[in-house]
């Protein structure tokens, strides 16, 4: 058993190397192919074959181009290329530490706020480059909502204030407008029926699943074009999770959802497109059905079938 595991590991490693080296000249890769063991060279050949027929999205809402991210000098994302289609759910899957969350946080420039973290590359949102020096991170965050791993309602605010916080603090004073938006957002987050009589109660008095939907409502109140969800159900029980999954299906009618998840079944259930990441690289991207049923790369297949990760 041990030997087999080792050989699997080394072949994974080889494949990663192969992908990172692909950007080098072809001659170089050819040399490495001939010197490598038989099994990994066959993988490499496969990789090269699939590269041409790689999946493409027309008119992407968001287009990530050769994005690199560092944590205190350590490269965490090694050049990601990914297109996100409008009004769809795109899932990012992969083992722990593969950079899914970093990628998500790069999209709304939350990554910049981490001390010693830097990012470089292009993310194009409707022809606006998010990483352009002139674009304002605050304005970008206003166009994107974010939902975090753990529910984090503002503890000093009531349920109503939590949803209204973004509007009020961004300077909207029209009380009736705020009231309408809060109502619609709570409805949109499937929470209205449960809290309509307790809007004055503190946000943290709700249960974990309700708190998470409150956070979704808070994000929706800003009328975002894109909703970024960072493992939104990992701290919740299965019933609360399934409620949020149903919610995602409704949400995608009006906005674009990008979700990071550890749970492959969840990705298969809710997403239209899936991206598989490993060690800071995008290994495979395509329609969810195809990724889960006919993955093109062996690494993806092995992760999806639970052989590692």
């Amino acid at each position: 058993m041990g030997n087999l595991d080792n050989s699997l590991k080394s072949s994974i490693k080889d494949e990663i190397d192969a992908i990172s080296e692909y950007t080098k000249t072809k001659a170089e890769t050819d040399i490495t192919t001939t010197t490598d063991a038989g099994i990994s060279s066959s993988i490499k050949a496969k990789t090269e074959r699939n590269f041409d027929s790689e999946f493409k999205i027309e008119n992407p809402k968001l287009s990530i181009q050769s994005l690199k991210a560092w944590f205190s000098g350590k490269l965490a994302l090694k050049g990601i290329n990914l297109d996100v289609k409008e009004n769809c759910v795109t899932a990012l899957i992969g083992p722990s530490g593969c950079g899914k969350t970093t990628l998500l946080r790069c999209i709304n420039r939350m990554h910049d706020l981490t001390p010693n973290a830097t990012a470089d590359g292009k993310i194009i949102l409707d022809e606006l480059n998010i990483y352009d020096k002139q674009s304002d991170p605050v304005l970008i965050k206003r166009r994107m909502g974010m939902v975090f791993q753990k529910p984090n309602p503002f503890p000093t605010m009531s349920i109503y204030d939590n949803v209204a916080a973004g509007l009020k603090l961004n300077g909207i004073k029209d009380k009736n407008l705020i009231k309408d938006i809060v109502h619609d957002s709570l409805k949109g987050a499937a929470l209205w029926e449960e809290v309509k009589n307790d809007l004055d109660k503190p946000g943290i008095s709700l249960s974990g699943g309700q708190q998470q939907r409150l956070c979704i409502a808070r994000a929706l109140a800003m009328q975002p074009e894109i909703l970024l969800m960072d493992e939104p159900t990992s701290a919740l029980d299965p019933i609360a999770s399934s409620k949020i999954e149903e919610l995602m299906n409704d949400l995608k009618k009006n906005l674009t959802v990008i979700i990071v998840t550890h749970n492959m079944q969840q990705a298969a259930r809710v997403s239209d497109y899936t991206a598989f990441m490993y060690l800071g690289e995008l290994i495979e991207f395509g329609p969810t059905d195809q990724i889960f049923k006919y993955p093109k790369k062996e690494l993806t297949e092995r992760y999806i079938s639970g052989k590692f990760g």
């Binding site: 706020l113 605050v138 965050k141 503002f154 000093t156 109503y160 603090l169 961004n170 004055d200």
Partner: protein, 305 residues
């Protein structure tokens, strides 16, 4: 098979050890509980005896006249400590007006804005800690030279200034620690709503840790209310009510000191009374501030819908 035997061995060894030591452990446990209790009592004794003594000796002096009228003839035991109470309240009020904002903002800088200049923040913290440790008489002399000599008279302004310098490091330290307790997820949630940094800091971080910051201010105020040495150098003490910003003012600690150094029993009783008033004043102040902080947070919940 070999593995099974081994694990069995471990368990039996551990079980044996646990059974062997159980009596000893219980005795030691009880001993430690008693010991800790004794130390708590030892710590409380001085505090309780001071409070008891002050109450016993001071209650007799309390009267309407004592609280509101100026001191009578030297050693007569007539009159009261009205100017001292007034002076202390004014001095604390002015000192808080200067010290609290400066201290809180310094704390905000250290907690929220210092990540880009680590070494500057390091020295700031160092100086802050050193400032906490400077003897108050030294700060008093500084105030004397910087304000009393340049302005030409002892004044409440100089007193408030030196008291605020004592307050600032305490408030800054406590504010920084409280602000750091605000979880980062809340900051990120606020950033995620597209708020600029100052709004995140003000509406989420500072407002969320209001009661902690107020505790720091109360702490600093109670420390400052009992300061004597810097006040001798700056407001001097008088037996008259407040009459302007260029004349000496009285304060409770000064009055206590004066009364205690007189050789008359009647003055000593008044001194005890003044000490009791000072303690009650600080107690009332902290209770009031805390209630204010709680009330504010409750009304913000209700005032929105």
């Amino acid at each position: 098979m070999i593995k099974d035997n081994k694990t069995k061995d471990y368990t039996s060894i551990i079980q044996e050890r646990i059974a062997k030591n159980s009596r000893k452990r219980k005795i030691f446990n009880n001993f430690m509980t008693v010991l800790l209790f004794v130390f708590v009592i030892i710590a409380i004794i001085p505090l309780a005896s001071i409070l008891f003594e002050v109450f016993k000796n001071g209650v007799g002096a309390l009267s309407f006249e004592f609280l509101f009228s100026p001191p009578g003839a030297f050693g007569s035991g007539d009159g009261g400590i009205g100017p001292a109470i007034q002076g202390t309240l004014i001095a604390i009020g002015l000192a808080s007006l200067i010290g609290a904002p400066v201290g809180v903002l310094a704390g905000v800088y250290l907690s929220e804005y210092s990540s880009s200049s680590r070494s500057f923040a390091y020295f700031l913290r160092l100086f802050n800690d050193v400032l906490t440790g400077i003897p108050s008489i030294v700060i008093g002399i500084t105030g004397y030279i910087a304000l009393v000599l340049t302005l030409g008279s002892f004044s409440i302004l100089a007193g408030a200034f030196v008291l605020s310098i004592i307050m600032i490091p305490i408030v800054a330290r406590v504010s920084e620690e409280t602000l750091k307790l605000v979880p980062n997820t809340l900051r990120e949630a606020a950033y995620g709503l597209g708020l600029p940094k100052w709004k995140v800091v003000w509406h989420i971080v500072i407002k969320g840790s209001k009661s902690g910051i107020l505790t720091g201010i109360v702490l600093a105020v109670s420390r400052v209310a009992g300061e004597t040495a810097p006040l001798i150098m700056t407001i001097l003490g008088t037996s008259l009510f407040f009459s302007g910003f260029n004349s000496p003012v009285d304060a409770l600690p000064l009055r206590i000191w004066r009364l205690a150094s007189q050789p008359y029993p009647a003055a000593h009783e008044q001194g005890w009374g003044a000490a009791l008033v000072l303690i009650l004043l600080i107690l009332a102040l902290s209770v009031a501030l805390r209630m204010f902080a709680q009330k504010r947070s409750i009304t913000t919940f209700k005032g929105t819908t």
